[in-house]
């Protein structure tokens, strides 16, 4: 059984906004024989918006603490994150520790206050990278027992699962991996020009009037291209596209009612998992088009 150190992130906590992602990822990994060892006592990664309150060192110290705990508990095994922002923040911190000596030194001075230290060498990976590189396309396909035949899906990659690091060398402008995942489940990936457009991110909390416009364009494009459901790897995208559909409909006069699910939910369903295993009961907009495969 393959094991990884696991960093779930705040939104994947019990009863948090991405609980459906967390629950389906856990089912997916069980089905793949992957063991995720959660870092004990991890803290928030500070996401991308932590810069404003935290500056460079306090912001990165948060990630450094997670790495230090991980190293202590699990050695240098690969660390897996499911949230794009966590993946990005952790990876960035690790890179700067490894590449900039003065950053490494300062962060270790701070870590020492908590009785910790970290000098790099843990590779941070996104769950989709694990699926593509370690599990492999053949396995992802061969596990399908209930192909999602005829299901039309818009694969929404979003920003941070794509940029700035990229997934497995895929293009920044038109990445293919999510469409391939959709096709692997037997569903059809519809053409989707907005697949890497920005959903507005955290601006949805503070200035929703600006980010609703962006989100609306993405939903519109999915609907226009005939998608019955949108699939995404990112919890912020999922939240903005699904939970705020009501607000968008109200403020921009639209009439969207399209479910937004995670890639992990599609896989669990296609591999014969139960509706609840796929956490599809945790959708704010019920995933009705998926019912026929349950």
């Amino acid at each position: 059984m393959k094991e990884y150190t696991f960093f779930p992130g705040c939104s994947s906590e019990h009863n948090a906004s991405a609980a459906n992602m967390e629950n389906s990822v856990q089912s997916m990994c069980r089905m793949l024989g992957i063991k995720l060892n959660e870092i004990d006592d991890w803290n928030c990664c500070s996401a991308s918006i932590g810069y404003a309150g935290g500056g460079q060192l306090p912001r990165m110290a948060l990630s450094a603490r997670n790495f230090a705990l991980a190293q202590k508990q699990r050695g240098n095994t690969d660390l897996v994150a499911t949230c794009a922002a966590c993946w990005l923040a952790m990876r960035e911190t690790n890179e700067r520790i490894e590449e900039e000596a003065h950053i490494k030194q300062n962060l270790n001075t701070a870590l020492a206050e908590a009785g910790l230290s970290y000098d790099g060498h843990i590779k941070t990976r996104h769950m989709v990278e694990v699926l593509i590189e370690d599990v492999g396309w053949d396995t992802l396909k061969s596990k399908v027992t209930k192909p999602l035949k005829g299901l039309k899906v818009a694969g929404y990659v979003g920003c941070q699962t794509n940029r700035p690091f990229g997934v497995c060398g895929d293009s920044f402008e038109n990445p293919q991996y999510l469409d391939r995942m959709i096709e692997a489940t037997g569903a059809t990936a519809v053409p989707f020009p907005m697949k890497v457009a920005c959903c507005g991110g955290a601006l949805m909390f503070s200035e929703p009037e600006k980010s609703c416009v962006l989100t609306k364009q993405i939903l519109q494009s999915a609907v226009d291209n005939g998608a019955e459901v949108i699939v995404t790897p990112c919890p912020v995208c999922q939240l903005n596209l699904e939970v705020y559909q009501g607000l968008i409909n109200k403020t921009l006069g639209t009439n969207f009612n399209i479910p937004v699910v995670y890639y992990s939910q599609l896989f669990v369903l296609a591999w014969g998992g139960k509706w609840e295993d796929a956490a599809l009961h945790q959708q704010v907009i019920p995933a009705e088009p998926l019912r026929r495969f349950a």
């Binding site: 803290n43 060192l57 700035p164 920005c198």
Partner: protein
């Protein structure tokens, strides 16, 4: 004096990744790539040029940096490989430390006053508390108003067990160590200078 380099040199030294600003070749790719471009008064390339032109007040008082959603589109497209997103974040933070930001800018308030406090008070994000703090920033009335606007979403989240109804959460086991670590990091941050 116009085109005085004092401000630029400060930014090169003190603002996160600020030393990269001098490498911008003003091609405009970032400006055209930003999803929020309609809301920027000055695009990243203009901000960078304003830094080089010594326009301290205009840059640091600008709301532009708060428009960045961290989508990283500019960063992957910049032909000069400037870490634009981080430079923009850096400028926002620098404006904050120089006490030049507009206290009413909503994203600034969320980022500085709500988010950072939220995560450092327990070690993790408490989503319910985060939302409440945000809504009630402008007082009780405005908070209830916004809360009501969003009540359908909130009820949906509660029903699907994606929102914890109890806004207060416990602290990490290592909370005290973490707090000391952050204090130290903040102390070091004040002395931090960019290395070219």
């Amino acid at each position: 004096m116009a085109y005085d380099l004092t401000f630029a040199k400060d930014v090169y030294k003190k603002s996160e990744m600020g030393q990269w600003i001098k490498m911008c070749m003003q091609c405009g790719v970032c400006a055209g790539s930003c999803p929020l471009r309609a809301h920027w008064q000055h695009s990243p390339r203009q901000l960078f040029q304003m830094v080089r032109a010594g326009m301290r007040d205009e840059v640091l008082k600008s709301s532009d940096m708060w428009m960045c959603t961290s989508c990283y589109n500019c960063i992957v497209r910049c032909p000069r490989e400037l870490p634009i997103t981080h430079i923009i974040h850096g400028l926002a933070r620098y404006a904050e430390t120089e006490k030049m930001t507009d206290p009413q800018q909503p994203t600034r308030r969320f980022a500085v006053e709500v988010f950072w406090k939220n995560i450092t008070s327990t070690g993790r994000v408490g989503e319910a508390m985060l939302t409440m703090r945000l809504y009630f920033l402008d007082g009780l009335g405005a908070g209830i108003q916004r809360g009501l606007e969003m009540k359908d979403s909130a009820i949906g989240m509660l029903k699907t067990r994606r929102l914890n109804p109890i806004p207060f959460r416990g602290k990490l086991k290592g909370f005290d160590g973490m707090t000391k670590m952050l204090a130290k990091a903040a102390e070091l941050e004040a002395k931090l200078e960019n290395h070219a």
